[in-house]
Symmetry: C2
Subunit: 104 residues, 2 copies
């Protein structure tokens, strides 16, 4: 049971990493190409410390990985399927909501 619990905690960690609008935007940016902290911070108009922390959170969850290149650190998406998964889930739910509304 303890092992099962850990399994669900790991899984919840992945969803926690995805449970923030800005982090989702960051992941979509990373789906196009690798980005360094600085450029991504400029692109999104937020402080680099926030971008750095969020990237580190996404990395802990296993969603992205990084490579240092000189003074900058390049981050890239590990599993692009994650985002397809996100939009698929969203579409299913949207359809369901429409269905419920039309039934009322």
């Amino acid at each position: 049971m303890k092992q099962l619990e850990r399994r669900y905690e790991r899984r919840a960690e992945i969803f926690k990493a995805l449970a923030n609008p800005l982090r989702l935007v960051m992941l979509e940016k990373l789906a196009d190409k690798p980005w360094c902290v600085c450029a991504l911070a400029d692109e999104l108009g937020v402080d680099k410390s926030i971008v750095s922390k969020y990237l580190s959170q996404l990395k802990s969850a296993g969603l992205i990985e990084d490579t240092r290149k000189g003074t900058l650190v390049e981050y890239r998406l590990v599993a692009p399927c994650i985002l397809q998964v996100a939009s698929c889930a969203e579409e299913t739910i949207q359809e369901q909501k429409k269905k419920l509304l039309s039934e009322e």
Copy 2:
């Protein structure tokens, strides 16, 4: 841009609902069959108020729906694909982590 923001917020809401180990267990229980609050609370060994609140959160996210049947309220999973999505994401990440370890 405002509309795009709302889109990401909606998506983040779905992931927020999934970002808790107990709620993930609840969803898996619901994948088998519909459950009422009371039975699910017994099964999981937590207070019914927590189960009720979590179910309501999952419902707001569009993941489940409910029907009152006498004194009890039956909840059921709307999109079982959501859970497949979870295990798919997890597997991809696990594979990636193994790959990284073997490279070191």
